[in-house]
């Protein structure tokens, strides 16, 4: 009870709340984890699709999964060399 009183007045968080929050984050991250082959396959597919419309520099592109506190994003970064003109 003393400890509870102390927490109430100092505004200190309960340790189980920290545990819950950390778990929630790590479980999300765990599910986003991809193995390298998946990432390479994805990159090849994306390159193929984009190559239909643009000429891109295949050597300097990068594909990453970015993880922030509350948001995860797939980032694909590539320089565009030319726009391909579609034949009518």
């Amino acid at each position: 009870m003393l400890k509870a009183l102390l927490e109430k007045f100092t505004g200190q968080k309960k340790s189980k709340d920290a545990a819950k929050k950390r778990l929630q984050f790590s479980l999300i991250y765990d599910k986003l984890e991809m193995n390298d082959t998946t990432l390479t396959d994805l990159q090849n597919d994306i390159v193929n699709v984009i190559s239909n419309y643009f000429e891109i520099d295949k050597d300097s592109l990068e594909l990453k999964v970015k993880r922030d506190h509350d948001v995860s994003a797939l980032v694909f970064n590539t320089p565009i060399l030319h726009v391909k003109r579609k034949q009518a």
Binding site: M1, A4, K14, K16, K20, R22, L23
Partner: protein, 265 residues
């Protein structure tokens, strides 16, 4: 009608899977079912000592899968609880000695002879785990209220879903006083994180160690809180789906009532 095959698993070791398996199996037998417990932890068998049957082993699950014996020879009958049987793991073999096809075939045969076949999965998510779930019709996941166990439970739950099994959760070793002080995840916290149905809540209980010391079934001890909790889980598995979940609580003293009335949970 064929019996049910229930796999009990956890991902992480040391969360009380063996205790849960032996207790739930014993409780199901006390309810009048014919029950066989299968120790799937090849190379590291434990259920035999916990259940007090270690002196009566002749054949094991590897012998059975490899057709070296019959079910009636491999299944050891418990002398205290009627209709309770154990098929032990082998202690000398390598983990990879069993194939999923072989285990699935035996599980099908066991279902014909028993109302419940309880598979005690080894820790981990490798071959032994795959073998344990291959013939399962239902699954229980055991976890304790700590971060590593809950995280591993999440992984296992995902794997079970991918095999079309809808697992239910047993939260083991709950310490109500610590939950009340906010030092331990409550079962609500665990359920928030895992999104899974509950099979039951089991408090930390000194009797678990004591009963394993002597190899006597926990569920035969009426003063064991954990034993009683496992009995309720068995009843729920056995058709009493609406049996309310009992939340382990601190014994209500004047002091705790006083602190509660002041708003300190």
């Amino acid at each position: 009608m064929d019996g049910k095959v229930i796999v009990i698993t956890s991902g992480k070791g040391g969360v009380g899977k063996t205790t849960a398996t032996s207790s739930i199996g014993a409780a199901l037998a006390l309810e009048g079912n014919r029950v066989v417990i299968v120790d799937m932890d090849i190379g590291l068998r434990n259920l035999d000592v916990v259940m007090g049957l270690e002196n009566r082993i002749v054949f094991n699950i590897v012998d059975l899968v490899n057709d070296r014996c019959k079910i009636s020879q491999a299944a050891i009958r418990d002398r205290r609880i009627e209709n309770l049987f154990l098929i032990p793991a082998s202690q000398s073999d390598n983990k990879d000695v069993l194939t999923t096809a072989g285990v699935e075939r035996i599980a099908k045969q066991l279902r014909k002879e028993f109302d419940y076949v309880i598979m005690d999965s080894p820790a981990g998510i490798e071959r032994g785990f795959e073998n344990s779930i291959v013939g399962a019709t239902e699954a229980l996941v055991v976890c304790t209220p700590d971060v590593s166990s809950v995280r591993d439970a999440d992984r296992v739950i995902g794997l079970l879903y991918s095999r079309s099994l809808t697992p239910r959760l047993v939260v083991n070793r709950i310490e109500p006083a610590r939950v009340a002080r906010g030092e331990m995840l409550s079962h609500e916290d665990v359920l928030d994180v895992l999104s899974i149905d509950l099979a039951g809540l089991v408090p930390l209980d000194e009797n678990v160690l004591i009963s394993s010391n002597t190899g006597t079934p926990l569920v035969l001890q009426n003063d064991s809180k954990a034993g009683q909790a496992f009995k309720r889980i068995a009843k729920r598995l056995n058709g009493e789906r609406d049996l309310p979940i009992q939340v382990p609580s601190v014994r209500s003293s004047v002091w705790t009532k006083l602190t509660k009335s002041f708003g300190f949970k």
